[in-house]
């Protein structure tokens, strides 16, 4: 794993020593090279895991997320160039360093083999994200957003620390690879119920579960583009990843503890999708759509069948790329219109036809058009929830309909219709932006050719 971690660390000196006009290009290319290394982990020859050392390992669940993380760094750098063009050089370098630091923590989180190590890194990712949101956000609301972000996730995850210490005490190890062999079924008692809650709430808040999701729209809306991208694409997936790792510890309590959370997710998925229908703010719409998609992942993880795990993993990757792309598109609008309000950006297809094509493709992947991996994820989740209880198909069906509606509503409002006069003299779309969208779409399309590499460990 060091062959990814050390190059990532070396990105920081690269940033600070590069010539002023080379900082973006150097870091982006270098980041792309690192992401190529991480692709090799997608090839998982064994049934179990690839153990790199005592500290790090990767298996078919963490490898796709690892590849997603490393793939996203160059994309974030590409997306932020315009946003930072007016800043002084030191601040640019600091910003890039923050992104690199975040990537470093994320890589280590996804590959940590020890739960406490995982926990520490999980918390460490908060720091660069908080700095990015509160330092480079656009409005004063960003401070509030940072506060929400920090407190929600911290409050959720502190009980996890206690729970982990307790587990370590009675099991003697917190190594992922070992505890799956050592684990005893938890007896049903009040203290174990609280143990279950402590273990799961940290990740539920991170996902976020409906009801604990308030930090997400705020953070997304206020964060600069790179912050939104990494939040939607990777940080939310930390929750799903953690849940899938830790549920092995918590059997058989999950069987009945899951019910309230399943209900909350199924209900929340419809609520958040219908909020999307009434959003006027583009970024907030995309943020709420993330909540709704992540509710599907929570449902899938809690059902705990092979199909649902495959669906959850596929949906996490698919949603990571799709929502990140949507945020990039929203940002490219914002850089031209200087407003996130959708109605101000109508009729853009006339002026920016290629951008309209990206919008179309992004919306279609967001509404899970077959045969994209988004569909594979959603379909598997729907299948497993249908087998869990036939009635859930009604809620899932409503969600499918509303998802299609708001995705196309977003497309139609921003791209179709007559353009308004104040956008007559906007800049054309840059090659950088088009390349950015292509780099998002390519993995989505290529993965649909061979989805099994992102279907997780149970495939």
């Amino acid at each position: 794993m060091l062959k990814i971690i050390i190059p990532t660390i070396m990105l920081i000196p690269l940033t600070w020593m590069s010539k002023p006009n080379m900082i973006w290009i150097n870091t982006t290319t270098y980041g792309l090279l690192i992401s190529l290394i991480s692709l090799s982990y997608l090839n998982q020859p064994n049934d179990n895991t690839l153990n790199s050392s005592l500290m790090f390992f990767s298996d078919s669940l963490s490898a796709p997320l690892l590849a997603l993380t490393t793939w996203l760094l160059p994309l974030m750098l590409m997306a932020s160039q315009h946003h930072l063009s007016k800043e002084p050089l030191t601040r640019k370098k600091l910003y890039i360093s923050m992104l690199i630091l975040l990537q470093l923590f994320l890589i280590m989180t996804f590959t940590a083999s020890e739960l406490i190590f995982f926990y520490i890194l999980f918390e460490a990712t908060l720091i660069p994200t908080l700095i990015i949101i509160t330092r480079w956000g656009n409005q004063t609301e960003r401070l509030n957003a940072g506060l929400y972000f920090l407190f929600y996730t911290l409050m959720g995850s502190l009980p996890l620390l206690v729970a982990l210490l307790y587990i370590h005490n009675f099991m003697g190890s917190l190594n992922f690879l070992m505890i799956q062999y050592w684990i005893q079924p938890l007896p049903n008692s009040w203290s174990n119920i609280f143990l279950w809650l402590a273990c799961m709430m940290a990740f539920m808040v991170k996902m976020p579960l409906y009801g604990l999701h308030l930090w997400l729209p705020k953070a997304h809306v206020e964060a600069p583009i790179a912050g939104s991208m990494v939040l939607a694409a990777v940080l939310l997936k930390l929750g799903g990843y953690g849940m899938m790792r830790i549920t092995t510890l918590l059997n058989p309590l999950t069987n009945f503890m899951a019910y309230p959370f399943m209900m909350l997710s199924l209900w929340g998925m419809i609520m958040t999708s219908s909020i999307c229908l009434r959003q006027t703010d583009l970024k907030s719409l995309i943020a709420y759509s993330s909540v709704s998609h992540m509710a599907l992942v929570i449902v899938a993880v809690l059902i705990q069948t092979p199909w649902s795990y495959m669906g959850a993993t596929a949906l996490m990757i698919a949603h990571g790329l799709t929502s990140s792309m949507l945020f990039c598109l929203a940002n490219s609008n914002y850089e031209r219109i200087h407003s996130r309000t959708m109605i101000l950006a109508r009729g853009l297809q006339t002026l920016l036809p290629l951008m309209a094509a990206w919008w179309l493709l992004a919306s279609l992947t967001n509404l899970a058009l077959p045969p994209t991996i988004n569909l594979i994820g959603e379909l598997f989740v729907v299948m497993s929830s249908f087998s869990w209880s036939n009635i859930t198909i009604i809620l899932m069906g409503i969600n499918i309909i509303i998802t299609a509606l708001y995705s196309l509503y977003m497309l139609i409002t921003t791209q179709r219709g007559k353009y308004s006069h104040h956008i007559k003299n906007i800049k054309p779309s840059f090659t950088r932006e088009n390349a950015l969208m292509t780099l998002h779409l390519l993995p989505l399309l290529l993965l649909s050719l061979n989805p099994k590499i992102i279907l997780g460990p149970i495939y």
């Binding site: 308030l214 609520m271 229908l277 077959p370 045969p371 299948m383 198909i393 899932m396 196309l408 139609i412």
Partner: protein, 606 residues
Amino acid sequence: MNMFSSCMITALVILTLPIIMSSTKLYKNKLYPYYVKTATSYAFMISMIPTMMFIYSGQETIISNWHWMTIQTMKLSMSFKLDYFSMIFVPVALFVTWSIMEFSMWYMHSDPYINRFFKYLLLFLITMMVLVTANNMFQLFIGWEGVGIMSFLLIGWWYGRTDANTAALQAVLYNRIGDVGFIMTMAWFLLNLNTWDLQQIFITTNDNFNLPLLGLLLAATGKSAQFSLHPWLPSAMEGPTPVSALLHSSTMVVAGVFLLIRFHPLMEHNQTIQTLTLCLGAITTLFTAICALTQNDIKKIVAFSTSSQLGLMMVTIGINQPYLAFLHICTHAFFKAMLFMCSGSIIHSLNDEQDIRKMGGLFKVLPFTTTSLIIGSLALTGMPFLTGFYSKDLIIESANTSNTNAWALLITLVATSLTAAYSTRIMFFALLGQPRFSPMILINENNPLLINSIKRLLIGSVFAGYIISHSITPTTIPQMTMPHYLKMTALAVTILGFILALELNLTTQGLKFNYPSNYFKFSSLLGYYPTIMHRLTPKTSLTISQKSASMLLDSIWLENILPKSISYFQMKSSTLISNQKGLIKLYFLSFMLTMILSLLILNYHE
């Protein structure tokens, strides 16, 4: 070597060539529409070879080539089913598309993005081919969703118009409701039969197929615009006329019926679903025929007639005659596409005038279009020995002789008679009588692109029914013997409809226009369905999402319960506990008091 599968694959691959071409310089070319049209015609001709072989030998094939993935015990691979239905439908669809593409070269010639339009049409055709030839449900679903999205793009072609965008969104919404049924069926099959392959589904026995078949019925209702999910089809007329001719008459909208035909092995023993299908189809065919009676927009009339014919196909499936329904799909494609093209020709010639009240007397200025329109309408009504007759007459006959729900059959008969009535109305208002359009328009229909494309379908509308029904024997045998009055019913009600409509039109033409009756309002306002469903439902659901989901839950309750209340209690308790209140005056006053006191005490201590 067997040419069967290789020819079919060649035909399908030829269709993808112009799509690949679009990434080269040829796409910038003015000839791109021509390439697309030619590719389609080649694909048609090549696909005729396996179809001929199929007609001759009756061999069916399944091509299974690319293994996509295996999920536990489920194998998913790309596989094509070349059986009775796909072998007949593919050439028909290609033939109709070929003509429509040629027609669009004329209709869309002034559009700056005509190349993109052709690419969309071709993409639609490919997804339709995928749908028709799919051998497993996942591949079918790819085609199914693909045609839905292409219909969204093509209806919203003129994206500057609000109506077009609304209609496009409406089409997607109604189709998505159907998709939920499709997904449910997929989930059910996966759960109970552990397969999505059609032949494996059909050989498995299960007692109770009610739930998946209900899902399929819902899917078909959405895609084929059956009653309750029908309003998107007339709204879809906002798209360009070639799109209406291709998607909303001959190919995409029959996908739902096609799906039910594909799954008829499961359906033929299930009385409940058959009755449901029958009643749904009968209601649709009557309701939309009634709506068609009072429309004034020529495209809307044809659209409602399409919906009515789709209802008739559903009725046919309901009386357990899927092969007849399939025959009607094939014959219907010819004359309905032609009717749309004729109305397109009229609309284009009259400077985008769609109102039949502003037409009249077109038989003098547009003789060819008039001829085709009349033949198409006659074929639609099932006039003997035109294309429609061979399927429609058989359908009515087998409906008359079947012993199922008499009410459903009766209203189907009424709808058949109404078909003649609204066809008469188009002919009477648009073609006959005095011209009512602006005299300044230069009308010219002598364009080979227009004439040839309509002519090809015209020949199809006259002979295709004969050719298809005589080369293919329907596998479920319809009733052969019946009393002659039943045999004549279809014809009788049609002629009755013609005569009634003609007489009504003639007698009421000079009369003063009365205040419209309630029946008239019911018909012209489309049964109040859009008024209720398109106002009430969106308003309530959007209000709920705004007021309860967004404001009450998200902005008030969830905010207040956690963050706001915590910070409130923190503030309260901190102010309560701390004795530092920032009252500077008081503090200084107390300082002063102590100072004075201390001064007093210290000074006077003696």
